[in-house]
Amino acid sequence: MGEMQELSTFWFVTVAAVKVVAVFTVVMGVVAYMTLAERRVSAFIQDRLGPNRVGPFGLLQPIADGIKNIIKEETMPGTAAKFYFVLGPALAIMPAVVTIAVIPFAAPLPTPVGTVDMVVADVPIGILYILALSSLAVYGIVLSGWASNNKYAFLGGLRASAQMISYEVALGLSVIAVLLLVGNVTLTETVWKQQQLGMWFVFPLSLAFVFFLISALAETNRLPFDMPEAESELITGYHTEYSAMKFSMFFIAEYAHVVTASALLATLFFGGWDIPFWTGDDMFRHESGWIRGFDEAGAPIPATPSVLITLLTLGAFCAKTGFFLLLYIWIRWTLPRFRYDQVMHLGWKVLLPGALGYVMLVAGTMLVLDQLEVPFGPVYGGVLTAVSGVTTLAFLLFVDRDRVIAGAHRKRNLARRRAGLPAEAGDPAVSS
């Protein structure tokens, strides 16, 4: 076995269409139930029960919400730029749902017509495609904010553009560390390399994971980075003027982004569909067949795709993605919103230099390891884990020095203290 049975053109197109429909349906379903999960988890965190009336445990609530949003009246502000006002939600939702296409969600599935990759489109540009499309999401927000002709909506759009562009930099830089280790940009190979290394990239690239997690929170405009919405400051920011299904579109887009970001976190740092401590599921397309790895002599060991492995790996992928979805909700209902200057400070002065330095560190460590001809395996990963672990600890201690959340008053007082002056009056916390 191990011989690859290629799909004929007809079957390739058919299978691709089926995958597109299936993945889109599943993502939309997850998005719908994310709204329910968000409401129920937030309720439980606040010692409430949340919506539990529509269907058993409130499971039909998203359907009721959907029907309500469709039959509600849509308003169109008289002074809005109508074309862009309608275009906004469409632009917001499009990149959110197409980015999931390149994420592999299970091991290859053997079918009578050939072995099917469990990824909608295994494009060779993988991560670059995701970075390119997720950057487009900001256009929907900025356009809808501007087209609403409302100062709060406009401010929200403006903040979104500043924030998303700032954090895109840190996001891209943290991905570069992964790209260095993988040596390719396709996500199928990212999963394969993690199986090869024998450990998930969260260990050898722990700091990149921290950066990616923070940047992904900011990119999806979720609390504590929901500057574009900021209910208490900007009403609801860019979607203030939207109603009914157009309003719903922004929410679908936000949750679709969360799903994509969670799937991406799972794929880049938690082995994708890989099942830990088991090499039986390792599988990669190598030359003319599926391989599990290479033996001592460097000859490929063939692998046999099976339905069972596909299902198991699908389960592993769903579990990992589900964990990050829960983490997103959990963080949202724990942390308060950053101040705008804190967001910018964290993005430009902490994450950007940190990620840059970390890329250099990873590249340097890998250069040393390659020079010493350490094989790509546990030792290689172990050294990187040690280096990254120390760096991550140092970084966490650095941000723990209250740099990011200290206000102007404290800085002023610190300056006064250095100058040998007493602290400003009226602040017991400082003067004590």
């Binding site: 988890v41 309720a43 439980f44 965190i45 606040q46 010692d47 409430r48 029960l49 959990w330 963080i331 209902w333 724990t334 942390l335 966490l396 941000v399 723990d400 020095r401 209250d402 740099r403 990011v404 959340i405 200290a406 206000g407 102007a408 008053h409 404290r410 007082n413 610190l414 400003e424 009226g426 602040d427 017991p428 916390a429 400082v430 004590s432």
Partner: protein, 166 residues
Amino acid sequence: MAISVKVMRRPEAGRTSYMRATLKGMSLTFKHLVRPTKVTLEYPEEQPDLHPRWRGTHRMEVHADGRPKCVACGLCPTVCPANCIRLTGGEDDQGNRYPIVYEIDEFRCIFCGMCQEVCPVEAIHVGQHFENAEYARDRFVYDLDRLMEQDHAVTLLWDPSDPRSE
């Protein structure tokens, strides 16, 4: 400094933390997430425990033979601060006074309970009841028959020797 500038009081260095505070907060929210006791009262199925001195919709006490205990003395319309009680008294052939008309406008009522306090024969009471929604406004004027039909528990009067009802 301009007088309108508010100086935010922020903790000193070393007292705030970014990571530790985040992790602390996450663990706190997680504890609440898994905590089985919730404060939500699932209302129509679960009823709230009303305080013994809760003052709600009125109720007229009746004698064993079904006559209202009210003797139409006129004290409750006199004492009512919202002026929501309409009473016309009458007298039967044995000389017993009884209400011909006794109406309480529950919209005007402020549920102070003074009618119950003032009643010499313990006829009119405010009750431990709050589910009094209606489809029409005129249904909120309770007449004598309606007041006698009510069967909810009545409010406990305030006892000066036990001010907290213990």
